[in-house]
């Protein structure tokens, strides 16, 4: 019985650690939706590119890891801005279905570009970090690191939103878009800044995910749907809700993976989501739908 508990506890802890990274992912998506009112269906594919960036810069070209991370984050931030300027901005006035489809098209595009450029093989960062052993449990150092960095990232974003003028503008736009010009805010510029920030968060998440998982062109399909579910359960645009939902989902996935195959963890998470829709619909109440 004692062994059983240890595995359970280990899964719970790993769930918490995974939750940190998922929370970071959902923060980026929530930010974009809350401010610009668009969902980047291809968000996970941006992360995929960030992961490839880390792989090539660190593993192939032997850049120092921090430099590789900085470059990857900046690169994905630029991708976010380009996505906004080229695809989102022209469609801001049109029906939401068009915006969803356009980012869906970009999803295809990014997956194909990755396939063409990098091939379909799984690539691993090749960074072997130690595994900590405590009280009979194994906790990998990479997971701890990912969790810690994710927390730092979220705190940094929080401070940015609370303390700076641009951060205040970002919060304000989500609440009343039309009067922003009255305060001298150029909404288009705020959208670009938000896109860069959303991209940067995706980039940061990719640096952490690449420590934990192999990268291949379709890796986005693994955690994309979960990120969407987290955001919907927490309420699109609701940062606090997304934060909590991320940890809940991470626990379900971790525990599901403990007793069954990993895929079942995702299935349980979805089933849980459906049940939650019945039980606590307020958790899903949109500020806008």
């Amino acid at each position: 019985m004692a062994i059983f508990d240890v595995f359970l506890l280990e899964a719970v802890i790993n769930g918490v650690l995974l939750g940190g990274v998922l929370a970071l992912l959902s923060l980026g998506l929530n930010l974009i939706f809350g401010v610009i009112d668009v969902v980047w269906i291809c968000y996970a594919e941006l992360v995929m590119f960030g992961m490839y960036g880390m792989y090539f810069l660190y593993t192939v070209y032997h850049w120092p890891i921090l430099l590789a991370a900085a470059a990857s984050i900046a690169g994905v931030a630029v991708m976010g801005v380009l996505l906004h300027l080229l695809v989102i901005a022209p469609l801001l006035g049109s029906a939401p279905i068009n915006q969803l489809l356009a980012t869906g098209g970009v999803l295809f595009f990014l997956q194909s570009v990755a396939t063409v450029l990098f091939g379909v093989e799984f690539r691993n960062l090749g960074l072997r970090l130690p595994v900590l052993k405590a009280a009979g449990m194994f906790v990998s150092y990479s997971r701890l690191l990912a969790f810690a960095v994710a927390l730092v990232g979220m705190v940094a974003v929080y401070l940015f939103l609370q303390r700076t003028y641009v951060g205040a503008a970002i919060r304000a736009i989500a609440q009343d878009r039309q009067i922003m010009t009255l305060m001298g805010v150029d909404t288009r510029r705020i959208y670009v800044v938000t896109s860069a920030l959303g991209g940067a968060l995706a980039g940061l998440a990719s640096c952490l995910l690449v420590l934990l998982y192999d990268v291949h062109p379709f890796v986005g399909l693994t955690f994309g749907p979960i990120t969407f579910l987290i955001c919907v359960l927490g309420g699109l645009g609701n940062f606090g809700g997304g934060f909590v939902a991320a940890f809940v989902f991470a626990e379900i996935i971790s525990l599901g993976g403990l007793y069954l195959d990993l895929e079942w963890g995702y299935v349980f998470a979805f089933a849980f989501f459906i049940v939650m829709m019945f039980v606590r619909p307020e958790g899903l109440m949109a500020r806008r739908s």
Binding site: N98, L100, L101, G105, L107, V116, G224, I226, V232, F273
Partner: protein, 330 residues
């Protein structure tokens, strides 16, 4: 004269395989017909603003349920397909009911359905001991692959006629919905749910009905596809890519027109084939790349879809009937 045009065209389509027997073009036509039916099924609910990005999941349920019942329980597809359609309908209710009941619409609904198709794919992969996972699954051949009982036909001509018939049924269903009270109810709902409810429309029930119908039709498309190809894999019938493809094709072809999804299917499938052939073995993924770029460009520059835009042009020259009252702009 123009009244008889659709009938003449229909007759020509029926007679086609008897006149022109080259197998490859027939194969393409069959694929186009089956996917047109799938896309039409999507548009039955998509035209009312119920944008589902999860129909790949229903196709997957249709395909795999039929094949699994046949292989493991020797259930003939004549029974298996209705069961698969019922399963898809049930899945639709389970997911859509809470969404509609709690007013989850628009972006939220699209994301939930997107996750649905992703989860169906995960289930298929997780049950790989039964379904073969990502390697795919094959229904067992019965009597050499040509059997009415097993819904397996060796002749492409037969399949062509079957696909044509199902496609025609799909159009018929589309038109029946178009002329029904349900259509007005759903259009009212898509404009203003509260007002519709105040006018006595049972919002959740109507939305649920159309969703179940759409899901069941899509499952049929999936089952047919599996029976024709005698092979399914998770990414050919379910998953996000298929779901997105469906929506793209309908938007490209025109979402408010009955033949729009068909036009979309013709364009996207021919395009994919052309790209696949010209890029061939030289580079994997280039075909999808061009496909993706073209689709984004379509969305940005032709938001009404091809058929919709052509009809608009026709309208402005007095050649096409005016849009029906209440049809919202794309």
């Amino acid at each position: 004269m123009s009244r008889y045009l659709p009938w003449l065209a229909g007759l020509a389509l029926v007679l086609l395989p008897f006149v022109y027997r080259a197998p490859y073009p027939l194969h393409i036509l069959i694929i186009i017909l089956i996917w047109s039916f799938a896309y039409t099924s999507w548009s039955v609910m998509g035209r009312f603003g119920l944008v589902s990005l999860g129909h790949g999941g229903f196709m997957g349920v249709g395909a795999y349920t039929t094949a699994l019942l046949w292989n493991f329980k020797a259930v003939s597809p004549w029974l298996g397909i209705p069961l698969a359609m019922a399963a898809a309908g049930l899945l639709a209710v389970v997911v859509a009911y809470p969404c509609f009941r709690f007013r989850i619409t628009g972006h939220y609904f699209a994301l939930v359905t997107l996750a649905l198709s992703g989860i169906v794919l995960q289930v298929i992969t997780a049950t790989r001991d039964y379904t073969g996972g990502s390697l795919g699954y094959t229904p067992e051949r019965y009597r050499g692959g040509s059997s009415l009982y097993a819904v397996q036909f060796g002749s492409k001509t037969t399949w062509y006629l079957v696909a044509l018939a199902v496609w025609a049924v799909g159009l018929y269903v589309w038109h029946r919905v178009d002329r029904s009270m349900m259509r007005y109810a759903l259009e009212a709902i898509s404009e203003d749910e509260d007002a519709a409810a105040a006018a006595g429309v049972h919002v959740t029930a109507e939305k649920l009905k159309i969703t179940v119908l759409s899901a069941m039709m899509t499952a049929l498309a999936g089952a047919l596809y599996c029976q024709y190809q005698m092979f399914v894999s998770p990414d050919t019938v379910s998953g996000i890519a298929i779901s997105l493809q469906m929506v793209f094709a309908v938007v490209v072809g025109g979402i408010y027109v009955s033949l729009g999804p068909t036009v979309g299917a013709v364009i996207t499938i021919l395009l994919a084939e052309v790209l696949r052939i010209s890029f061939g073995t030289r580079a994997v993924g280039w075909d999808n790349l061009v496909y993706g770029v073209l689709l984004v460009l379509f969305i940005v520059f032709l938001p009404k879809g091809i058929l919709g835009s052509v009809l608009d042009l026709g309208r402005s020259r007095g050649l096409a009937p005016p849009p029906r009252v209440g049809a919202p702009a794309a």
